[in-house]
Amino acid sequence: MAALELLSAEGFRPDGRRPAELRKLRARMGVFAQPDGSAYIEQGNTKALAVVYGPHEMRGPRSKALPDRALVNCQYSMATFSTGERKRRPHGDRKSSEMSLHLKQTFEAAILTELFPRSQIDIYVQILQADGGNYCACVNAATLAVIDAGIPLRDYVCASSAGLVEDAALADLSYLEEAAGGPQAALALLPTSGQMALLQLDSRLHEDRLGAVLEAAGGACRAVHAVLDRVVREHVRELTALLGD
């Protein structure tokens, strides 16, 4: 069997998308009542759940508290059933610690932490089904959950991945495309200001191509932003309707 074509001559990707097209994005906010904020997101077959507690007082050692801003604590995990084959994933393996760290950096940049000195904000994300772009799904879910918790943000944080296949930049890679091993970048963007909260690039990529990849990822982030914004507005409309009763 010959290797799969990631981009056919007709300009289709294996799942029928064109290079710049995203997978279907669906999201809901306020899926749980207990935590302060929660959200569920589907990006194609990648499904993630995010939960936010806080801001609240420091738990654990008080010495960790920051005098001038809130501490953002993130935890990333994958469900054992999230991949094709069931696999036990103990907490704190290297991959998820790294992912937790990235999430933390992303949200420290987006949340107005200086409003809550000496307090703590916990963000827990779990991947329920993994099909590429785990980080992006987590960021997007967490953004919605943070908004749901009513924590002030500078802007939406929207994330999307992009890759490069034969000089064409593909947005929002699926697992199949990620596994092919080409260069791949993950971008978390604050869309209104155009500031980057995080940019991660795996494998080597020539400088000349970086622009195309960033553009594709940026475009995808803005598209994500549009969807997220719609979801938030919808959610708020529902809430106000409930309050109105």
Partner: protein, 1051 residues
């Protein structure tokens, strides 16, 4: 933004079935790429023209099989559906897919790809239980219908398919969309396109042939092997038989035999081997594999082929030349694969071109005839054509005629001496890398200036025989590794004491040390025709463990007390000792002393510098000892003879070769009595040591057995002997040895020699074994007529002896120390014995093959027409249906001589008895063969006839060259040649080796050799002059550096 939908897909990866869910997005904006489109599809790039009569949609199967026809530029308006493209990509591979892609890209071709699977309306999900093929056809049909409707019915669409069901089902479903077969399509739409029709026919035919072929074999070349559990159960129940596969070297493709494991199975009364006839019955087993065999019903049994034949001519009809039917079977499973590294040769340029230039897979021919050709894939085939190459077999699937393998390394050029020797070593799995640093670091240091000395502590533990015993060694000329020495003296009580002293190698080679592990892996010293590969590093074998005269050495001694008159053994003791050999004698000198020949005395270096009186005294002592020894040996031998010990031609030669360092100057011209004396003492020592260790370790002693031969193997011997009128009684070793002694033709001593040779052939080889693995009756040594035997006397060159030494040490110390853990367990020992036996066999093969190599190289440069040396006298020792087997005593060559050549001509005799080829026929009798020409002349050759043969070398690219014999005269070469040749035999053979190796050396390595020698010389010089003072040492290093530079300049 876009309409999406998802599908589930099941697929398996790497054998495991994994459920993968993939998204599948459907859309409306898939461009149709037709000029007729009125729906406003984005129409950039190539468009399908609108001036054709119809659009054609090929089915996936048509695209796969008939792409070449679709490539015709005459065919226009082709729509390749995405489904069909993917089918090509997945099932036909990249090359075919790229062809399709290029076709679509080509602007001159009127064809497009339509992504039907991404279009919301043309996509059809695969239904549950629907086969892939059916779904693909359905998808393509639906896409065709969509396309027809999309173009608003302006253009009829023809779908061509090979699926009859589809034609029936969809044929009339939609108006305007026709579903017809490809043949039909060509006939109706392109009746004038001759080339397309021809191509179509040839493709169909080729496919048809392939299919019928695969149907016959069920798609497989070989039946599948049965699973292991069934084999095991079958072997237990007697349904299958387990054995080792031996391929007949001369008919490697047809005949193989399975030798039963164990000596004759009790349940089946099969005495002989089982014949495996043909490649299919052999079922992918390779020579040496342990296989399970199922017997065929007896009416399908067949006989082995008895005609002489060469491997090249396989097309002979074998039916008319078979012998009596014998048990025949087929391989049902391989229990243990014994694949090793194989030496192969790549096909030459002419051959490879016929195989197809771009073929990446290449069939290589192994050096060993018994191994099938191996398919390997490599890019370097052309570069490797001239070389001998090592490959390894990876797998052999049931649907493949040949096994798959991969290239490992290059050995050397074809025909190159070093390359060929390396090939022989690899073929016998002999690995003889130089000893490593770490092994050498374990070795004691010894040099000529600073010799190894006895350790005073060790001295106390050992019995000191240095002053009390007159010890001497008798060895061939130039021998360095003296591992045995003898002594005899009169005890105070008048009895005699006989001593055999063997070098104590185990003192230096601790069990499981690096050296020990290496020695165990080698198991023996390998002697090739021109060189040898030591089992132990030279510092041990040639120095510290060698029982040289005048130096102190550690030894293990066996001392017997003999009754003074009858030489009955009264007492025996085994000791660790320190000895100092007084004389290092040479066989010829010892024999001279024994015969009272005083002229040899000058050849004894130890006696040179003495004054006349002491010299006389010492000489008397020595002569007394030697004659006493001979006396004892005679008595012991007589006793053994009375039990039926055999004197066998082959065995004798081999043992003598083993003793040598280099063949040429070491083969004695004729056997001397001293040889026998020494051998007898060694046998005695081995025998007594065997007794001791088997008593002490009844379940874990290493002994050597020689099982009695099967009677049916003697048939040939009996027949041959009866041709000369000698009765041979083979019932026991005693009767055999007596009748062999009697079977002596006074006119032709070769007859006896050949008969003994055949007797040796009929016997199985002696083997090492662990006493725990068989019952005590089987310990017997048939050839030596001893109840227990082992190898103890050559620890320098045989690993078995090292093991026996350790066992003996453990046995003698048993009372004092706990030695249980020092001795190998029965199981380990059994494993070790198998390994040593294996290596011994490899050593013998390697030696034989290297001798043959030299024979061939010797005769290669001679022109047989003119050169005297290529014509020799031969003796017929076996008769076959189309020729005779001939032994050429002058060169020690055995070979086949044909009486019927490839054109069917037979040999005939002229008046002067010289031979010619003429048309005629052959008739074979038991002891003779007659060739009758059509003109009525006839020639009869019978067993033991002397004939004149011409020696030719049959060169072969892939295999070892072979010596070929051609009968040129039906008469002895010279009348008195037998006498002369026998004497010359060894000398000539040694000359041969010398000559060949010299010429090869000069041809190849003159330059390097010269350089190496210079350096070696200087090194030696450095060693010799190494003085005790530091100043001197430094001076010499400086000198050496200077010399080195000058050496560089010189070369």
């Amino acid at each position: 933004m876009l309409r999406t939908e998802k599908v589930l897909q099941l697929r398996s990866q790497q054998g495991r079935s994994v459920r993968v869910v993939r998204e599948h997005y459907l859309r409306l904006d898939v461009p149709c790429r037709s000029a007729l489109c009125r729906a406003g599809c984005p129409g950039d790039g190539k468009l399908l023209s609108d001036d054709v009569t119809h659009y054609v949609v090929p089915d996936w199967k048509v695209v796969q099989d008939y792409l070449e026809i679709l490539e015709f530029p005459e065919l226009k308006g082709i729509i390749f559906m995405q489904t069909a493209c993917q089918a090509v990509q997945h099932q036909k591979g990249r090359r075919q897919y790229n062809k399709l892609r290029n076709l679509v890209k080509d602007a001159r071709h009127d064809c497009i790809v339509f992504a039907n699977e991404f279009h919301q309306h043309s996509y059809r999900p695969r239904e549950k239980g629907e086969s892939m093929e059916k779904w693909q056809t359905r998808s393509i049909y639906n896409a065709a219908v969509w396309y027809y409707n999309h173009c608003l019915g302006q253009m009829p669409v023809v779908m061509v398919t090979e699926d009859e069901d589809a034609i029936r089902q969809y044929g009339n479903e939609t108006e305007g969309v026709f579903v017809i077969s490809f043949k039909n399509y060509l006939d109706n739409f392109w009746p004038d396109l001759e080339a397309a029709h021809e191509l179509f026919d040839s493709i169909v035919q080729a496919r048809h042939e392939r299919e019928t072929e695969s149907q016959e074999n069920n798609g497989k070349e070989y039946p599948e092997h049965l699973p292991m559990e069934i084999l095991e159960a079958g072997i237990k129940s007697g349904r299958y038989i387990q054995g080792t596969l031996n391929v007949n070297k001369h008919r490697a493709q047809l005949e193989a035999f399975v030798r039963l494991q164990g000596f004759g199975s009790k349940e089946t009364d099969l005495q002989s081997d089982i014949l495996i006839y043909g490649a299919r019955a052999r079922n992918r087993a390779i020579h040496g594999d342990v296989v399970a065999v199922e017997l065929l019903p007896s009416q399908e049994w067949r006989g082995r082929i008895v005609a002489l034949c060469e491997n090249e001519t396989e097309d002979k009809a074998p039916a008319d030349t078979t012998g009596d039917p014998m048990p025949t079977g087929k391989v049902v499973g391989i229990i243990q694969k014994n694949w090793r590294d194989y030496v192969v040769t790549f096909p030459s340029k002419e051959e490879s071109q016929s195989q197809g230039r771009n073929a990446q897979k290449i069939l290589v021919t192994p050096w060993d005839y018994r191994i099938p050709k191996i398919r390997i894939s490599t890019q370097q085939a052309e570069a490797l054509q001239e070389y001998r190459v090592v490959v390894r077999i990876d797998s052999w699937e049931s649907n493949s005629v040949y096994p798959n393998g991969h290239f490992v390394r290059v050995l050397g050029r074809i025909g190159d001496l070093e390359g060929e020797i390396a090939a022989i070593l690899v073929e016998n799995s002999i690995s003889v890398a130089p000893f490593s640093e770490i092994q050498m670091s374990e070795m004691p240091t010894s040099s000529s200036k600073n010799p190894w000395k006895v350790n005073p502590e060790e001295e106390k533990k050992r019995l000191d025989l240095r002053d009390t015993h007159l010890i001497f060694s008798i060895d061939p000329k130039g021998c360095e590794d003296v591992d045995d020495a003898l002594s005899v003296r009169t005890l105070p009580n008048g009895n005699l004491e006989l001593g055999v002293h063997i070098a104590d190698v185990t003192y230096f080679v601790a069990a499981n040390s690096y050296t020990d592990v290496e020695a165990r892996a080698r198991a023996t010293t390998y002697y090739l025709a021109d060189r040898r590969y030591d089992m132990l590093p030279a510092v041990l074998s040639a120095d510290v463990c060698s029982l040289l005269s005048g130096v102190d050495r550690y030894a293990v001694s066996v001392l017997w007390e003999l009754e003074r008159e009858s030489y009955e053994i009264l007492r025996v003791c085994y000791n660790k000792t320190i000895i100092r050999s007084a004389y290092k004698l040479v066989y010829e000198v010892a024999q001279g002393l024994l015969d009272g020949d005083t002229s040899v005395v000058d050849d004894i270096p130890e006696l040179k510098d003495l004054d006349e009186r002491t010299r006389k005294k010492k000489l008397d002592e020595l002569v007394w000892a030697i004659s006493k020894l001979t006396d004892i040996a005679r008595r012991v031998r007589a006793k053994r003879d009375s039990c039926g010990a055999l004197e066998l031609e082959g065995v004798e030669i081999r043992v003598q070769l083993d003793d040598k360092k280099n063949i040429h100057d070491l083969i004695p011209k004729q056997p001397l009595e001293v040889h026998e004396t020494v051998a007898e003492c060694m046998i005695l020592a081995n025998h007594w040591v065997a007794k001791k260790i088997s008593e002490n370790f009844p379940h874990q002693a290493l002994l050597r057995q020689h099982p009695p031969p099967r009677q049916e193997f003697f048939t040939e011997l009996r027949e041959c002997a009866s041709a000369k009128g000698f009765p041979i009684d083979t019932r026991s070793n005693k009767t055999l040895s007596e009748s062999l002694d009697k079977a002596d033709d006074p006119l032709d001593p070769l007859v006896n020699k050949l008969l003994r040779c055949m007797a040796t052939h009929a016997m199985s080889n002696a083997l090492y074994f662990s006493t725990g693995s068989c019952s005590e009756e089987e310990f017997h040594h048939y050839g030596l007529a001893l109840d227990k035997y082992t190898h103890f006397t050559s620890p320098i060159r045989r690993y078995a002896d090292i093991v026996v030494h350790r066992l003996l040490m453990a046995a003698t110390l048993k009372e004092t120390k706990d030695v249980k853990d020092k001795v190998l367990s029965n199981k380990d020992l059994e494993e070790l014995c198998r390994h040593i036996n294996n290596r011994n066999r490899a050593a013998q093969h390697a030696q034989k093959q290297s001798t043959e190599l030299f024979q061939c190289m010797y005769f290669k440069d001679k022109t047989p027409e003119t050169d005297e040396r290529c014509i020799a006298d031969g003796v017929i020792y076996s008769i076959r249906t189309n020729g005779v087997l001939v032994f050429v005593p002058r060169y020690g060559i055995k070979g086949a001589a044909y009486m019927k050549n490839k054109e069917g001509l037979v040999i005939s005799c002229q008046g002067d008895r010289s031979c010619e080829w003429k048309p005629g026929s052959l008739q074979r009798f038991q002891n003779k063969i007659t060739s009758t020409t059509t003109t009525g002349d006839s020639v009869t050759l019978s067993l033991f006839d002397h004939i004149t043969v011409k020696i030719l070398v049959q060169t072969s690219r892939c295999h070892a060259d072979t010596v070929k014999l051609e009968i040129i005269r039906n008469a002895p070469y010279q009348t008195s040649v037998t006498e002369v040749s026998q004497k010359n035999f060894n000398v000539v053979k040694s000359d041969l080796v010398k000559e060949v190796s010299q010429s090869a050396e000069t041809a190849q390595h003159t330059q390097e050799k010269a350089r190496v020698e210079v350096i070696e010389e200087e090194y030696r010089q450095y060693c010799q002059t190494k003085g005790p003072s530091l100043y001197q040492l430094l001076e010499e290093i400086r000198d050496l550096a200077l010399l080195d530079v000058s050496a560089d300049i010189r070369t």
